[in-house]
């Protein structure tokens, strides 16, 4: 029984990892900071480990899919992320792929 659980945990993990970038890009249309994004995703029913999300934001920024800006106007500086033009293009193609895959798999079910 625990074997099935382990296998499922691994597969679920992989499934989520595969969609993570798309989820982040979809939720950065407006400027948003790390902690707030975790909250937004949680409210939307997507549980994501913040320890995975924070480094991912930085990685996506390095890949130029996100842009960032430090907001120092409040008493605490926060780094805000937003999808870049390149990110928008990638997201458009990614969602297309996603729909296609979803359709194909749905037919198999």
């Amino acid at each position: 029984m625990s074997d099935i659980k382990n296998i499922l945990d691994n597969l679920n993990g992989e499934l989520k990892r595969g969609t993570l970038v798309m989820i982040v890009l979809l939720n950065t249309k407006n400027q948003i900071y790390g902690y707030s994004l975790v909250q937004t995703l949680q409210t939307a029913g997507i549980k994501i480990d913040k320890n995975t999300l924070y480094p991912l934001l930085r990685r996506l920024e390095k890949q130029e899919l996100l842009v960032s800006i430090w907001d120092t106007s409040e008493n605490r500086a926060r780094k805000y992320y937003q999808i870049s033009e390149l990110g928008e293009e990638v997201l458009a193609q990614l969602t297309q792929e996603w729909s296609q895959l979803n359709n194909n798999i749905s037919k198999m079910l």
Binding site: Y33, G34, Y35, S36, Q39, K50, N51, T52, Y54, P55, R58, R59, K62, W70, R76, A77, R78, K79
Partner: protein, 317 residues
């Protein structure tokens, strides 16, 4: 709060130098957000510690922010294995050839032949191990160097530094420059204290079964050594200045001039007949000098190209 600063400091020590400050700043902001939202405005030490434990140990957190901590980048794996195979193949061919020539040209007893066969395998094994070890070090350095390049472009950028980036065509790698200085000082000292080391090296070549086509005339070599030493001292000075100021137009120009001087000396060394005794073939130090001359020519061309591109035509990096 003291404990947060200590935690962030501990993470920072494990982060790549170039991106350290930015990641530390972001982590602190994220941590404070978490604390604020979970514990309110006046959190207790225990609350803060709990959040910190959720974030993970400094080592774990730093690891998440490192892209690729492999000592040899995966993009070089295939190349690394290909060169390793070539090395093992070449050494096998080389030692086997020496072995066969030895067997053919000498009347050996069966016991000596057996000894030679064992030696053959031991030699191939030992030299392959040494060569692949050396290759590994080179690839580790390439991985490190290419990472630096990547970080320069992606992370080390800020508006304030824009002018500097434009003006320095190739960023000075501190590790490379320090290694450069170290080895130049080492060779400079060894050759000046004991110029006879060159004959020792020749005997070493011959002991390994290589038949040299000439020997170095050490008294003439000592004269050349004066000029070589001048070039090396100038190179050390340039490297030290490079470490302090980074690449500048003037420095690049001096570098080219010293390289030109080096090229002229090496050209004289490669073509001077009095430097070589018992000359029958190229095999020996003359081949090494000629090889270095060719390398210097390539370096010189590359440096002149960089100089013209970035400093004369002012192409933006």
């Amino acid at each position: 709060m003291d404990i947060i600063d200590k935690y962030i400091y501990a993470i920072g020590k494990k982060l790549p130098y170039d991106s350290r400050d930015e990641i530390k700043r972001e982590l602190k902001s994220l941590l404070l957000d978490e604390i604020d939202s979970s514990c309110g405005e006046n959190p207790s030490i225990n609350d803060v510690e709990k959040i910190i434990y959720e974030f993970g140990s400094p080592k774990q957190v730093a690891k998440r922010y490192k892209n690729d901590d492999a000592i040899i980048s995966s993009i070089y794996t295939n190349l690394f294995f290909m060169i390793s195979k070539i090395i093992i193949g070449s050494l096998t061919i080389a030692f086997s050839t020496i072995f066969i020539i030895n067997i053919i040209s000498n009347w050996l007893t069966a016991a000596v032949v057996l000894e030679n066969i064992i030696d053959l395998f031991l030699n191939i094994f030992n030299s392959s191990l040494a060569a692949i070890g050396f290759l590994t070090v080179i690839f580790i350095l390439i991985t490190k160097f290419s990472n630096e390049q990547f970080l320069d472009l992606e992370e080390d950028w800020s508006v304030d530094e824009l002018e500097d980036i434009k003006l320095s065509p190739d960023k000075v790698s501190k590790v490379e420059t320090i290694v450069d200085i170290f080895f130049t000082v080492l060779f400079l000292s060894i050759l000046n204290i004991a110029p006879g080391v060159i004959s020792v090296a020749e005997r070493g070549f011959e002991a390994s079964g290589l038949k040299l086509g000439h020997n170095i005339n050490t008294s003439i070599f000592t004269t050349f050594l004066i000029f070589i030493s001048i070039v090396w001292i100038l190179e050390i000075i340039i490297n030290i200045v490079k470490l302090l100021t980074g690449n500048t137009k003037k420095l690049k120009m001096y570098e080219i001039l010293v390289e030109l001087f080096n090229f002229i000396i090496l050209l004289f060394m490669s073509t001077s007949q009095s430097l070589y005794l018992n000359y029958t073939s190229l095999l020996g130090f003359r081949a090494i000098f000629m090889l270095v001359t060719i390398i210097i020519v390539f370096e010189l061309v590359a440096n002149i190209y960089t100089y013209v591109k970035y400093y004369v035509l002012d192409v933006k990096a």
